[in-house]
């Protein structure tokens, strides 16, 4: 655990000593801020964060791989990963340390968006429950996506490739629900079930209830399981370096 904390602290600091965290955060805030402003200034706008959440998931699609792409790819390129893996730390500690650091950056990135909530309270009377559930959903989704970005970073020593692979995996999971339109009218039962399973695997279908103000254990478990799967794959990916 101590090793994990040390790695987390080191990685978190390194995010903020380079321009990456500032630039990524600024881009995220500028885009979400723009769409938030558009959504709440239209006629009959609702005093809620639903539109913010629905646009954030698409912005996180490329923000998250940008945050995670360097975590393992850079170490592989510089040759420091071998040192790290031969040091007296377990693979899981390395992975968790880097993951928690990126999660810290994500939370730091979301923190300033409390300004949008403050604007809603300033000019209206929003319902607090859906705002809290929306943030819980966004953090759970972000936490799961970070593990996928981390996994992509462990696959290559090239940061660009890590970014593209990470963004590709997230894109597929974001739009998995689009398969609903593929089968023709009245498809066989097993096709219907297959489509239902793929739709269930879609990341964004699990965020809808959170943004409405409903917390469903299905959605919480989906994101928790996805997070664990992502971390597991990353550990296995690092482990393969010992015998490849």
């Amino acid at each position: 655990m101590r090793n994990t904390i040390l790695i987390t602290a080191k990685e978190f600091r390194s995010y903020f000593t380079s321009p990456i965290a500032y630039v990524v955060t600024a881009v995220f805030l500028a885009l979400t801020g723009f769409f938030f402003a558009v959504s709440v200034t239209r006629p009959l706008a609702d005093a809620s964060m639903r539109d913010f959440v629905s646009i954030s998931q698409f912005i996180l699609w490329f923000i998250i791989p940008a945050l995670t792409m360097r975590l393992f790819a850079e170490e592989q390129k510089l040759g420091t990963l071998e040192m790290l893996l031969t040091a007296p730390v377990r693979d899981i500690e390395v992975v968790l340390g880097k993951y928690l650091a990126s999660l810290g950056v994500l939370l730091a990135m979301l923190l300033p968006t409390a300004y949008f909530v403050a604007l809603l309270f300033w000019f209206g009377t929003p319902d607090t429950g859906p705002i809290l559930s929306a943030y819980i959903g966004l953090v759970l989704m972000g936490a799961a996506l970070l593990t996928l970005g981390l996994f992509a970073s462990s696959l290559s020593s090239n940061q660009i490739i890590a970014f593209v692979v990470g963004a590709g995996i997230i894109l597929v999971l974001l739009f998995a629900d689009a398969v609903a339109g593929l089968p023709g009218a009245d498809p066989p039962l097993f096709v219907q079930r297959l489509v239902a399973v793929i739709q269930y695997a879609s990341i964004r279908t699990h965020l809808i209830d959170f943004s409405r103000g409903v917390i469903d254990t299905r959605d919480v478990i989906y994101y928790a399981v996805l997070t664990v799967v992502g971390l597991f794959l990353t550990v296995r990916s690092l482990e393969t370096r010992r015998w490849r």
């Binding site: 000593t17 500028a30 009959l44 023709g184 269930y200 409405r212 299905r218 399981v225 296995r236």
Partner: protein, 567 residues
């Protein structure tokens, strides 16, 4: 001479021809493997996209399997090495572990999807369905296709109603798979909307079973925001599935028009009755002298031109019905009973007897067969040509109620002694018309001092919050439900003789408009889930500029400061 022989060591080492062929074929094994995998993928896509191509799918699947097996057989040694060699064993071990872990993840998600708990954290428990709705959904025996006609491009109202409808319907869909939903942009596909004979303009949700279709229109909240409620949707579901139909009662026993008379060209209302039933209503006669009150399951009460006198108890029964928020369609003409007209007078509408004559708009040759000018109102809908033979005129019962007419144009209600009144003129004659007091005069002509000059109102839709006598006066009313009624100054227009014209549609529109506000199921009232932002131009300006610029600027400034310190 001995034949020349080449020593064996000088022979070029040529491989036997079979071996060369085998090597060549082995070289093809990656191509075969690739083609095999491609065939399997194509088979999968075939099955997903073309459901009626199962034979082709099986053939392509078979080809793929054969190609893969051939590839494995040709490179058996290489495959074996890859599996049982050192790297192969580690790789296989990892593959098994990853597969097992992914399997566990699938099982965890499957269990989570089967045994889930939901926590509605909204203030009014907006997404927690009422018991009545849950029971209705669980009892569904047929599939219900719900079609939403919205045009989100046209602005806020469509987008808001679409969001509300989809929120509610997704909650319904979690209870039963029998609810199927689709959204259609009616501006892109107007023909899809034209298939339904709707009385009001979209946005609209249509609940449809093979037997019947029931539309639901969004209703306005007190804040003027459109809204679909759970009550509206569940009521529509009950109608569409035939579990429960809205009830329309026609009073009888005072020589009203007879809904049992379907005779061709007769003065009965049998054809109107069929039309109302065709719009998914249950129609019954109501003998008030026996029942003493309007039944609680009445969604709309129709009083169609009573000629003989209402008993005091009968008038009181209709008055009590209106006071509890009842909906009614009243038809009056010059023979209508005085007691009934007295009731209308109490509720703010005076009927001026006589016959309206309009030389500018009438059906030739009779100038008393008036073709009125129509106003923009859901009761009128798309109707443009209606004709009312020998119609009477309507007006507010007193001068202090006159602002109720102006309030309609502003979409508001006039405060009269603490009660709120909105009177919307539906039909009116031209300024050239007059109310002919002498019915025997032929041809009718305007007699100054006797006849009343036009324009004259011939139809009126009224909504009244509070007692008609004013706040604190008269019997109490339902504070949450306004009295709502339509008064038309004619009874002939809807009789069997006038079928085939637009006139019956005017009657049906009026019933639909009144019934739309009625629900078939009593569900607990939820506070409105919508909390609208009302922004001043300055506030909107501040949000527009500060949201995308202020925070990024601060973050970049922080980054710059950090860079400066570390420089």
């Amino acid at each position: 001479m001995a034949p020349e022989t080449t020593p064996p060591e000088m022979l070029t080492p040529e491989a036997p021809p079979q071996s060369t062929l085998l090597e060549l074929v082995r070289g093809l094994s990656p191509v075969l493997a690739l083609a095999g995998v491609a065939a399997l993928i194509v088979a999968g896509v075939f099955q997903l996209v073309f459901t009626d191509l199962s034979l082709y799918t099986i053939i392509v699947l078979g080809i793929g399997a054969v190609l893969l097996l051939a590839a494995i057989a040709l490179s058996f040694e290489a495959v074996k090495d890859a599996l049982v060699g050192r790297r192969g064993r580690y790789g296989l071990n990892t593959l098994i572990m990853v597969s097992a872990f992914l399997g566990l993840a699938v099982v965890a998600n499957f269990l989570a999807s089967q045994y889930n708990a939901r926590f509605d954290v909204t203030t009014g428990r907006q997404f927690t369905l009422a018991r009545g709705t849950l029971a209705t959904l669980q009892d569904l025996k047929v599939d219900v296709q719900v079609t939403g006609f919205f045009s989100p491009e046209t602005g806020g109202v469509d987008a808001i109603l679409k969001g509300q409808a989809e929120d509610l319907l997704s909650a319904y869909g979690r209870v039963t798979p029998r609810i199927k939903y689709r959204a259609i942009d009616y501006q892109v596909q107007p023909q899809a909307l034209a298939n339904y004979n709707l009385t009001s303009e979209p946005p609209v949700l249509i609940f449809e079973t093979p037997e019947r279709a029931q539309p639901v229109f969004g209703r306005l909240t007190e804040a003027g925001v459109p809204q679909f409620t759970e009550q509206d949707l569940t009521s529509a579901l009950l109608v569409a599935t035939g579990v429960k139909l809205k009830k329309v009662y026609f009073t009888a026993g005072h020589e009203e028009r007879d809904i049992g008379d379907s005779g061709d060209l007769s003065t009965g209302y049998g054809l109107i009755r069929q039309g109302v039933e065709g719009d998914n209503y249950q129609v019954e006669n109501l003998i008030l002298a026996t029942l003493k009150e309007v039944p609680t399951d009445a969604n709309v009460l129709v009083v169609a031109g009573p000629k003989t006198n209402f008993l005091p108890g009968e008038v009181q029964a209709i008055d009590a019905y209106l006071r509890r928020g009842g909906k009614a369609l009243f038809l009056a003409d010059q023979n209508t009973s005085e007691e009934f007209l007295g009731l209308l007078q109490t509720w703010g509408i005076a009927v001026k007897k006589g016959v309206i004559a309009d030389p500018s708009r009438h059906v030739n040759p009779n100038i008393t067969d008036v073709v009125p000018i129509t106003s923009a109102h859901p009761v009128i809908g798309n109707l443009s040509i209606i004709f009312l033979p020998a119609a009477v005129a309507l007006e507010p019962a007193s001068d202090k109620l006159a602002p109720a007419l102006a309030a309609c144009q502003q979409g508001s209600a006039a405060d009269v002694d603490g009660s709120l009144f909105q009177f919307c003129p539906l039909l009116f004659s031209t300024p050239n018309s007059w109310l002919e007091k002498d019915a025997a005069q032929s041809p009718p002509k305007f007699d100054k001092g006797t006849d009343t000059a036009g324009p004259l109102i011939m139809g009126m839709a009224a909504i009244i919050f509070g007692p008609p006598e004013g706040k604190g006066k008269g019997a109490a009313t339902n504070p949450e439900k306004p009295a709502q009624f339509v008064v038309l100054g004619d009874t002939d227009f809807a009789d069997n003789a006038n079928r085939g014209r637009n006139n019956p549609q005017l009657f049906l529109n009026a019933v639909n408009w009144l019934a739309e506000q009625e629900n078939l199921i009593d569900l607990p009232q939820k506070p409105s889930g919508s909390r609208r932002l009302i922004l001043s131009p300055e506030a909107a300006n501040w949000i527009q500029w500060s949201s995308p610029l202020l925070l990024p600027a601060l973050v970049l400034a922080l980054g710059g400061l950090n860079w400066w310190r570390r420089r």
